[in-house]
């Protein structure tokens, strides 16, 4: 009886402990490539990144848009990140203030999510899609979906996908 208790307890605390280290130390490192376009008129794309569970409940990760235009004129085109607008952007709570920054040009862009941040630490376990959507003025739109199981715990965890037009390679690592 006593031994069973201690065995259970230690297993339980190991679980706790491993979760704790995972939550305290780790980050999801994302590298998102925006391809160079051979076009006469080029505008840096609007990009949104979010996590969506199997019930389509969304958790915002990042948004790159023209945030420094006069009179917030850049927000006028947020609806063109169409899937993101539907799942996240149009919500009255405007939950996308966190990792919001200006648009980025061609190249590989890194961003990191600390898993102990309030939003991600509380995310229920389950199957998710990490969704990356790009929408370019006078250009195309593309969504790349990367399926993953939350929480991501294994150190060797890595995800990769690539877009066909508006997005290049997308790599995600746990670090």
């Amino acid at each position: 009886m006593n031994r069973l208790f201690w065995l259970t307890f230690s297993l339980f605390s190991m679980t706790l402990f491993s979760n704790y280290t995972f939550a305290a130390d780790k980050s999801l490192l994302m590298e998102i490539e925006i391809p160079r376009m051979n076009v006469a008129e080029y505008h840096k794309p609007y990009v949104a990144i979010w996590l969506e569970d199997s019930n389509r409940k969304a958790t915002q990760v990042a948004l790159w848009y023209d945030l420094d235009m006069k009179d917030n004129e850049g927000k006028k085109w947020l609806k063109d990140i169409r899937q993101w607008w539907r799942r996240v952007g149009r919500s009255a709570q405007q939950p996308y203030d966190g990792l919001t920054s200006a648009t980025k040009g061609p190249g590989k862009h890194k961003l990191s999510i600390a898993l102990d941040s309030e939003t991600f630490a509380q995310l229920p376990a389950g199957d998710y899609q990490l969704r990356v959507e790009a929408s370019r003025e006078v250009g195309g739109k593309e969504v790349v979906n990367l399926p993953l199981t939350w929480p991501v715990t294994a150190d060797e965890f890595s995800l990769a996908a690539s877009g066909n037009a508006e997005l290049g390679n997308i790599n995600i690592k746990l670090k």
Partner: protein, 277 residues
């Protein structure tokens, strides 16, 4: 919309008769420049016309009298820059508050058609005139040939949303044929199923015939019309085959009219955008 019921009736009857009787066999529509908008107080511009091809300005404009816009709280608001040209009316709407707006024109009342002693078709109220129910007995000859008296209702509308879609403007007026969304009309996507309920005079309308046609008909040979009939509770479901702007037209008729009418008719038309995934 806080008008008393009788006054509202007179108003809508007056407003719409010219429209109701000039657009037979054509399609009437209100086409928004965008249906789902972001940013602060965005603007939408609209074209309103009656035509054969969708959405082409080729026949007559949809007249602006009787056209109303409601904000997300249901309050009537003004459209601006209204202009009626040869083939279309245009106007702008500023979406000051977030939510779903309704832009519509609705009318209805008694209508009579018959043939006079020379076999010529007559109608009451005359084209462009208002039906005043108290004038029915003097204006319509009771023993005329082929006399048909109906209660006819017509509604043409569209919806646009700034930010998150809302539902207040879907509250039915219980007059004529109306669509009550289950699926929000500003949240339609290709390959997904949409469900709407139809009401006639506030009651579920069974057997309403829907004709759904995507725009750009002038660039194809086939209309590719989707035909749907409402079920026993007035519901219709549609799975959108392609992204695009659609005209949803619906017709209802029964014989439950009050004398002197012998039939009740309702027609409905709405312009809905279906977005790509």
């Amino acid at each position: 919309m806080n008008l008393s019921q009788p006054f509202k009736k007179i108003l809508t009857v007056g407003v719409m008769m010219s429209l109701a009787f000039s657009v037979n066999a054509h399609r009437a529509w209100i086409l928004p420049s965008s249906t789902s908008l972001s940013g602060e107080a965005p603007w939408v511009t609209f074209d309103a016309a009656v035509s054969n091809s969708l959405f082409v300005f080729e026949h007559v404009p949809l007249r602006m009298n009787g056209l109303v816009a409601q904000d997300p709280s249901g309050k009537l608001i003004d459209v601006v820059n209204a202009h009626t040209g040869k083939y279309r009316s245009t106007f702008d709407l500023n979406l000051v508050n977030p939510g779903t707006y309704r832009i519509s024109t609705a009318s209805g009342g008694l209508r009579a058609v018959w043939r006079d002693e020379n076999g010529k078709r007559k109608m009451w109220p005359a084209r462009g005139k208002t039906a005043v129910a108290s004038e029915f007995s003097t204006a319509v000859p009771k023993n005329a040939k082929e006399l048909r008296v109906s209660e006819s209702y017509r509604r043409i509308e569209t919806f646009v949303t700034s930010g998150e879609p809302t539902k207040k403007v879907f509250e039915p007026t219980n007059s004529g044929l109306e669509l009550v969304p289950v699926t929000h009309p500003n949240d339609l996507f290709v390959g997904e199923e949409a469900k709407f309920q139809f009401l006639f005079q506030g009651q579920p309308a069974v057997g309403v015939k829907l004709a759904i046609v995507k725009g750009d008909t002038r660039y194809r040979n086939d209309q590719n019309q989707i035909d749907v009939v409402t079920d026993a509770k007035g519901y219709a479901t549609i799975t959108w085959p392609e992204a695009g702007m659609y005209l949803i037209e619906a017709e209802y008729e029964d014989d439950k009219a009050k004398a002197p009418a012998t039939s009740r008719k309702g027609s409905y038309g709405a312009t809905f955008a279906v977005l790509p995934l």
